[in-house]
């Protein structure tokens, strides 16, 4: 009986290595230097949403290869090392294609043949941008696709919400081939003119697009080897949920800083508005949601390390809880940040808008909170 509890305690494990600490510190200072709020605003109207030289520096830091096997030139540190980087990016609203590339690499590591991996992963370590094209529409819960790859290897169909499509050199598409789901690779130069149509995103720091792959003919070696596509897709969606959660945790903490700074400086009725409990108490609610989400994220990161990338039940629970918690934290922070800034909060000039917009975008990536709670129910209640 005692042992049951002891075993159960493993599902609360959390560690943070010296290596992760160094990564976190270097990522924090990198993002502070390259993604000040002025810089974030400057990029809002740019086509790609980030600067090439920043991406190049990030490549030189080795981050594009951080979770890729050493055989392909990466440092093989796993998702647990990606989490502090993504959290730091979220903290400074930095919007590079780092998450897109990380997920694409994770998919190739799971679904591609050794030859396919050898062909693409080293390029990705060196900074080539790759992205996933999974969705036919807005539904993260869909478990099939109507996208088609014909017997003679011609694609038909459009994909939605292809992040960073504007600069991606490689697209990994979820499609149907001979009656079952497959992943297939398409290079940028195979796309027809006008195939990429940018979405007008609510979050102006991010970039995503509709991409029409209709008419593209692929070679046989562009079809990824794996036929357990559903299982791989499920894993990738969970990793995507975790990374988006980590990013949202970073964003929530800087949004809370914005709120606290304003509450400490803005005066009404002769005193700082932060002395009013009507503002104080919801600020604590944000803090508490943030702390819970951050714990969930680093717990999930720890389970990735323990499982060496294998996704078991506990890790699925952790990723889903992390995403649901982080969604709720950032949604509340962004919402209250606007409200607490009063009239200024309603203006485009006030930075609160950046956070409330990010919150709306972020909650919808890899599933909103209700999506994850629904999927947690059978895992937790049986």
């Amino acid at each position: 009986m005692g042992f049951v509890r002891y075993e159960e305690n493993k599902s609360y494990s959390m560690r943070f290595s010296e290596e992760q600490k160094m990564i976190l510190e270097s990522a924090r200072s990198f993002c502070q230097d390259t993604s000040s709020i002025e810089q974030v605003r400057k990029l809002l109207e740019s086509a790609q949403g980030y600067e090439d030289n920043v991406w190049q520096q990030l490549v030189e830091l080795g981050w594009t290869g951080i979770a890729i096997a050493e055989a392909f030139g990466g440092s093989e540190l796993g998702i647990e090392a990606v989490v502090p980087i993504v959290e730091s990016m979220g903290r400074n609203l930095s919007a590079t294609p780092f998450i897109s590339c990380t997920l694409a690499a994770q998919l190739l590591l799971r679904a591609a043949s050794p030859e396919q991996q050898q062909r693409w992963l080293p390029k990705m370590v060196e900074g080539q941008i790759a992205t996933l094209a999974l969705l036919d529409n807005e539904d993260w819960g869909a478990d099939n696709t109507t996208h088609q790859l014909s017997d003679d290897l011609v694609l038909t169909g459009e994909k939605w919400f292809v992040d960073d499509a504007a600069t991606a050199e490689l697209f990994i598409i979820l499609t149907q081939y001979q009656g079952s789901a497959r992943f297939v690779l398409v290079e940028r130069n195979q796309l027809s003119e006008g195939a990429i149509k940018a979405h007008a995103l609510i979050d102006e720091t991010k970039r995503s697009a509709k991409v029409d792959f209709t008419g593209v003919t692929v070679s046989a070696d562009a079809v990824l080897a794996a036929d357990n596509v559903e299982a791989i897709l499920a894993d990738i969606k969970l990793i995507g949920a975790l990374l988006t959660a980590a990013e949202a945790v970073g964003t929530t903490s800087s949004c809370l800083n914005l709120v606290v700074d304003y509450l400490n400086t803005r005066k009404q009725f002769g005193k700082p508005i932060g002395s009013f409990q009507a503002l104080k108490h919801p600020s604590v609610d944000i803090l508490i949601k943030l702390e819970g989400a951050r714990s969930q994220v680093y717990h999930a990161a720890t389970l990735f390390e323990e499982g060496k990338g294998e996704i078991e039940r506990d890790l699925e629970i952790a990723c889903r809880m992390a995403k649901a918690s982080a969604n709720d934290a950032l949604l509340m922070a962004g919402d209250r940040a606007v409200q607490f800034h009063g009239g200024m909060g309603f203006t485009y000039e006030c930075d609160a808008q950046l956070y409330i917009r990010r919150a709306q975008w972020s909650q919808q990536q890899f599933g909103d909170s209700a999506h994850h709670r629904k999927r947690l129910a059978p895992l937790l209640l049986n």
Binding site: V260, G274, S283, E291, R294, S295, K374, L376
Partner: protein, 400 residues
């Protein structure tokens, strides 16, 4: 002392086996869910005997120094015992004010004579402790406490009244916060801290009936009560410092308790079982997706708390607001518990209207009883609202 995982696992098994053999039979009367509702002599006798048995088996005060009656072992041993007590749903260890608050305070800040005099009796339950902090007019604003203590030769003369005195009628000693200097330059500087006897001329207690219908609290009256001057702990004027330290033990911000097992915990597992047992439309309520969604949310929040506890030990992951995890634990845990219990009552249909003495009540109306009782946790030791102010001011740095 060995704390490797195998040794600890073996110890856990030893404790578990001991509990299976030694947990008392159901005494046939209602046992208190928390240390705050010991209201009858038979309950008291039962709990005193149980605490003594646990102490004599070596499972209480394991981390307290040997010279005062503890075992001088790493705290993790006591943590394991506390977890196993909860796992086995053992009767509570009731002398909480001594074991959890006064005891660690005396061990940390008391004199050698105070340690010799008080610690052993706390562990054996020979000396039951109570707390005299809140007053009828000064609850959340504790710093404004007005009970007076005036030095008169070898004695202090106490006048005033304290309220919410848990174990008041049974108490042998009280940790008492009283004002020795009404003219001090701040309200805090005028306070002093006493380890006061309860059996002294001029000290009387009057029981208070609670929302649960039970007793367990009292109001304590001091009418020219005389206590020996040596009852003063520290110096005059140090009362606020000692009281704040006590609250850190009380709120589990600080470790050092002889046990933290002072209430029967009801967790999300119990809520799931309740939902499994209730039938609606020919199916267990557990299969209702609306109920499932709420349960998942509770489990998620419960896990947040447990994970926060783990993360609190990793300072590199607590750099944003270093005090926040430490300060918010009590608020979060007690509020989550209140919402879970309230929800569990709401699920029971018309049976949610039955109470503890009704044989048809679901599980002895444990949820109704527990929901009411939980207010002692969201109010006592600092109301949730005051806790939220503390977090806002000390963790977030917002102005007073």
């Amino acid at each position: 002392m060995n704390t490797d995982p195998d040794t600890l696992a073996a110890f856990r098994q030893e404790v578990s086996a001991w509990l299976e053999d030694n947990i008392p039979e159901d005494p046939g009367f209602l046992l208190p869910l928390t240390f705050m509702e010991v209201g009858t002599d038979e309950q008291l006798a039962f709990l005193v005997a149980w605490q003594r048995k646990v102490y004599e088996a070596g499972y209480l005060g394991m981390s307290w120094p040997q010279e005062y009656g503890g075992r001088g072992m790493p705290k993790v041993y006591q943590d394991i015992v506390d977890e196993e007590l909860a796992n086995h749903k053992a009767p509570i260890i009731f002398n909480t004010i001594g074991l959890g608050w006064a005891g660690p305070l005396i061990l940390e800040m008391g004199t050698e004579a105070e340690k010799q005099k008080y610690i052993k009796g706390i562990l054996t339950a020979e000396d039951i402790w109570c707390q005299g902090f809140s007053e009828p007019d000064h609850g959340s604003d504790l710093g404004n406490a007005q009970t007076r203590a005036v030095r008169d030769g070898d004695e202090y003369v106490i006048n005033g009244s304290k309220i919410w005195t848990t174990h008041g009628p049974y108490g042998k000693y009280m940790i008492l916060l009283a004002r020795t200097n009404p003219e001090a330059k701040s309200k805090y500087a005028g306070l002093s801290f006493f380890l006061s006897p309860m059996q002294a001329p001029g000290i009387t207690t009057s029981p208070i009936q609670k929302i649960t219908g039970e007793y367990g609290f009292a109001q304590t009256f001091f009418d020219d009560a005389r206590i020996p001057a040596e009852c003063l702990m520290g110096e005059e004027g140090e009362g606020w410092k000692l009281a704040m330290r006590t609250l850190e033990y009380e709120r589990s911000v600080e470790g050092g308790q002889a046990t933290s097992y002072c209430l029967t915990s009801i967790s999300s597992d119990d809520l799931i079982e309740t939902c499994r047992s209730i039938q609606r439309d020919g199916k267990p309520l557990l299969e209702d997706p609306v109920v499932q969604d709420q349960l998942v949310q509770f489990i998620l929040e419960e896990k947040n708390l447990q994970l926060n506890n783990t993360r609190g030990k990793l300072p590199d992951l607590c750099t944003d607001y270093p005090l926040s995890l430490m300060l918010s634990g009590k608020l979060e845990a007690t509020e989550l518990c209140r919402r879970m219990r309230q929800y569990a009552v709401s699920l029971q249909g018309a049976k949610g209207g039955l109470y503890i003495h009704d044989n048809d009540a679901l599980d002895g109306a444990i949820w109704q009883h527990g929901y009411f009782n939980n207010f002692s946790a969201t109010i006592g030791g600092g109301t949730s609202q005051v806790q939220t102010n503390i977090i806002a001011e000390h963790a977030l740095g917002l102005p007073k």
